[in-house]
Amino acid sequence: MSGKNLELAHEFSTLVGASDLLAYLGMDHTASVDELRAKLKEKRKYMQGMQSNPKYKKQALFMIKHFSALDAVLQTPLEYIDDVRRRQESEHLPVLEMTIKGVLKGGRLTGEQAEFLRHQAGELGISEQTFQETLDRLCTEMGVAAPLPELSESEKASDHYAVLGVNNAASRDSIYDAYRTAYREAKGTPEPAAARSRMEAADQAWRVLGDPRTREAYDLARQSTAPPATQRESTPTPSGAKAPTAPPVRQRTAMPDTVPGAPRLEIFGEPVRRFGVANSPVHDEIRLRTAMPMNGFVTSTAPEWLRVEPAHLSPTTNEQTLRVTILPEFEEAEATGAIHIVTERGDRAQIVFEAKRRKIRPVTAFLAVAAILAIGLAVLLGSMNTIQGGGQPGLTIQIDPSADDVLLNSQSVGSGSVVYVANPPTGGVKLRVSQRNFRTYEQQITVPADQALEVPVMLELTEAMDFKPTAQMIQGTLDQEVVQKVMKPRSKAMDACIAIAAEPGKTMSGTVRIHIRQSGRAQGVEMEGDGINDPRVRTCLTRQAAAVYVHPLEEGDYATVRYDYQVTP
């Protein structure tokens, strides 16, 4: 299915105000592909009669024009549903990522921390599946062992494969089909209580088996509670029949213990390597030896410029060489990245690469931080007690005496942001909040021992606030003139957005930053200043920002268009 079709389906759902196409059609996941398509066709015919109706014109025309795209989307509903989920979560994902990274900086992940992160994900409206995906990805990137998701007792107890009537080697797609059928059959059960419990069972089975990671955890859990292998072999599953309690597919090879004390993963050469990079790529090698042939992953923390091949250890040899390529694609003059090697036994090694270059691109670190600030800001501290928001707004929070786990979890850096103190010291803490252009304040908080604490941050603008328009309209590699041309026709509309919240006679000023993505369209918008807290203003500005289009950027380029407003209604 093409991304364009998914994009159109998303656009259409937004247009009609439905969470997704299925909801728009008044159907749920139990509907078959044919039913969905027939319903869509019916809707299209209905919309034909509405195309001159001013209230429905837009959606009717959209439906008529993009019918085939919507139809194509419904032909692979699982893919579509995943896409919808990802879209719904994408807004908050960077916040979660930052939080997870903050935790992982400590170099380990305890079960408690994982639970805390899961809770955070839930708060942000991020599904279990995405949370797991993200956690796994970041764990690999940062070289931290990722724990498998914890399953509840009831999740572990029932035989989900049997509930859905599938083989334990079944693909995700066929599991989904089976789930749909099972759910439908359950729904049709005449006795309501039985129907409900069967439906719940099907749901739970899909929840566990639909996500590769929970499925793996489940398979493992089942394996450990299953009868010994010899016994299992004596009762082979009849071929063709569905296996009710079959062993998990992904068997792990048993590892004989190695000589105690001998290194199980050995890297030859420098652990930290420095390179000067001009305009062409530089190559290097990592030679390594494992105690015995085994599986493993090799990842780079900066795949844009630091590449490594292969991405897996070869399970047939215990000595191998990895090829490293350093591309001149890093944005700053200097960059640091690492290559992580993790074996299936959990042994790990890290080789740090530092690359330096003469040619300096006109870039500041500002963008990276700003992009995150646009949505929220979250940093978890190990033993430090300062949170640096970074970038322009520079939100600083100090907790005194130092608390173990402090998290700033906010929708935007502004009034109402929340500081989360997971392990406050007994006796109370002092919170000191400072941010440029806002009044610095201190707050004394007494906390009952061992209790988590959430403290809202109240930010108040100082009089000295200075948001005067700057000459520097844009950061990045775009041409000033282009930006002027693009923004000029938009400025009036943007001012009108701000005027929504204006009080007569009072001058409103502030800054709107629009981050441009590779395609030349807006990726994110960041706003600060008067009126921004009004949701109508935000929506209006976001819509304006979404319409900004400059020409596509070259690879490696980036741009932030900045609009300083000053509106006096």
Partner: protein, 572 residues
């Protein structure tokens, strides 16, 4: 080959109403009434079976009963890609739906005139782009018509209006606000030459927008009272739409109207005054005003410079529009023009001027002019100054020249019913008129600039008088190229995705040479809005020529299939 007096049907294919006309053997354009006996036919199609539909008045009546099988306002979608409507399992393009309307017109004309009708001139809003024009031509082809040319609606209106005013030098503003489109055009009549000076418009502004404002207003009132929205269901919506449309029309002559709403067992009568209605649609009127001012600016004229303001299109009957024009121009708009008919009349005249150079009426006129010229000369010698007594009563004493040549045939051109009867005392003769249109969208070419980035360069700007020829030099962008491709663009913008590529011409088999090797490109834009592109390799003299016609988006194969399907379709 058509004989000199074979009929050219002039068709005004409108968003809401269509009309047709022909020029009779005396040189007089006449509206052809449809089978129901009306001067105009609603552009509405009702599909009631796989291969059967009704067009016109009867289809309008079906809109409340069978809303999902009735098509209205199809003109708004002409030239749109991916737009198809499904009726009884078959997908119809806008071209095909329009073709059904055209077929009804063609068949009604044949019945009334008792002869076969093949050739036609179809009008489009001046602001239509080439895809929209192409789609209109395709619709004609599917309907089995031989489309001789596609001409601009304001031009047609001006021909019809200006025919008895030619000979002098006059500046004319045509303000055409129809059911779905809006055009403002400034023209000049100079001798027998009719020239478009500037034009602008909005292909998506028309009476329908006024209807919608009223409809939304009423629906909102109803919703406030009952928390029910009659727009939510197709049939009640259509019913309410009809009522709002009627109310709008009666507000053109009356101060107030009432709109009864009946939905899900709830009733309400919404009263509306003309002032309220004008308030609801103020910004639409402002849009019209802005466009008119822009066009004048483009023409470098002031309102005082205009000799006439011509109102075309049913929506100009609304007092808010005629008042606006009167206050802008400082004088009442031209009288004696029927806004519903003049476009079709002008189209039929243009058909004769362009495609029937030996029409008997034109010949007769030429003879008359020769003899009159002699007469005038003789009289001039006797009396001075020039005689005031023209052979026909002069419509305006300020126009002695117009009187001298123009009024060759009797009677007014227009006036609804009057145009139906043949002139009592037929006067032979029709003066030949040369029509000079101007482009409404710039034409350009895709090139690589110094940094080898794609850029669109405008070769024929908007507002260029046609016919027009552009000749320019381009060069090899890379070394050793063996072929060059000219991509012809339409629209405003410097980037390829801001404009539309309407055609490509490739010159291949060239010897490899260095960067900068010259290539000549010639664009010739003809009166029938067909672009001829010539690409010449200067050094070898090798060249390639191609015609770029409007493409409505259908391939020859699709067209012929559509034609055969339409032939089998029952059109009532």
């Amino acid at each position: 080959m058509a004989t000199d007096d074979e009929i050219v049907l002039g068709i005004d294919l409108g968003t809401t109403f269509s009309a047709m006309a022909h020029v009779n053997r005396y040189g007089k354009p006449e509206i052809i009434t449809n089978a129901e006996g009306f001067q105009t036919t609603p552009s509405v199609v009702h599909f009631y079976d796989e291969d059967a539909c009704i067009v016109g008045e009867e289809a309008v009546k079906m809109v409340v009963i069978d809303p999902h099988n009735v098509v209205r306002f199809i003109k708004r979608h002409m030239g749109e890609e991916d737009f198809t409507l499904d009726f009884f399992g078959r997908d119809y393009t806008p071209q095909e739906v329009s073709a059904l309307i055209l077929r009804k017109l063609k068949e009604d004309a044949e019945e009334l005139l008792g002869v076969d009708v093949n050739d036609a001139v179809i009008t489009v809003p001046a602001y239509f782009n080439s895809a929209q024009r192409g789609a209109t031509a395709e619709a004609g082809q599917i309907a089995g018509l031989n489309v001789l040319s596609i001409i601009n609606e304001p031009t047609a209106a001006a021909i019809a209006y200006g025919l008895d005013r030619i000979g002098g030098k006059r500046k004319l503003l045509v303000f055409d606000l129809g059911g779905g489109t809006f055009d403002v055009t400034v023209m000049e009549i100079r001798g027998t030459r009719l020239t478009t000076i500037a034009s602008d418009g909005n292909a998506e502004l028309g009476g329908k927008d006024w209807d919608d404002r009223l409809l939304n207003h009423v629906a909102e009132q109803f919703y406030e009272k009952f928390q029910l929205d009659p727009r939510d269901d197709a049939a009640p919506y259509q019913e309410l739409y009809e009522r709002c449309l009627n109310a709008k029309i009666s507000l053109s002559s009356k101060e107030r109207a009432v709109i009864p709403v009946n939905y899900r067992g709830q009733r309400m009568v919404v009263p509306i005054t003309r002032t309220e209605f004008e308030e609801l649609t103020r910004d639409l009127v402002e849009q019209c005003e802005d466009t008119a001012n822009i066009v004048l600016e483009k023409a470098r004229l002031r309102w005082e410079d205009l000799d006439d303001v011509l109102l075309v299109g049913g929506s100009t009957r609304m007092p808010m529009i005629s008042n606006l024009l009167e206050s802008l121009a400082g004088k009442p708009p031209a009288e004696g023009v029927n806004p519903d008919e003049c476009v079709a009349l002008g189209a039929s005249l243009a058909g004769v001027f362009r495609h029937r150079p030996n029409h008997p009426a034109l010949l007769a006129q030429r003879q008359q002019m020769v003899s009159r010229a002699k007469e005038v000369k003789r009289e001039e010698r006797k009396v001075e100054p020039a005689p005031q007594s023209a052979p026909q009563p002069a419509p305006d004493p300020n126009r002695p020249k117009a009187a001298a040549i123009g009024l060759a045939y009797g009677g007014s051109l227009v006036a609804g019913s009057g145009s139906q009867k043949p002139p009592e005392e037929p006067t032979f003769g029709l003066p030949g008129v040369t029509i000079e249109d101007a482009t409404t969208h710039p034409l350009g070419i895709v090139v690589l600039d110094r940094n080898r980035e794609e850029r669109v360069v405008e070769l024929i700007p908007q507002g260029t008088r046609v016919p027009h020829r552009y000749k320019g030099r381009f060069a090899y962008a890379y070394e050793n190229m063996t072929a060059v491709r000219v991509e012809v663009t339409e629209g405003v913008g410097e980037r390829r995705d801001e404009v539309t590529v309407i055609g490509k011409v490739e010159l291949t088999g060239l010897p490899p040479r260095p960067r900068g090797t010259p290539i000549e490109v010639i664009y010739s834009y003809g009166v029938d809005q067909i672009l001829q592109v010539r690409v010449i390799d200067v050094e070898t003299g090798k060249e390639k020529e191609a015609q770029i016609q409007f493409q409505g988006g259908m391939t020859a194969d699709q067209l012929s299939r559509a034609r055969s399907h339409m032939r089998n379709m029952n059109v009532d």
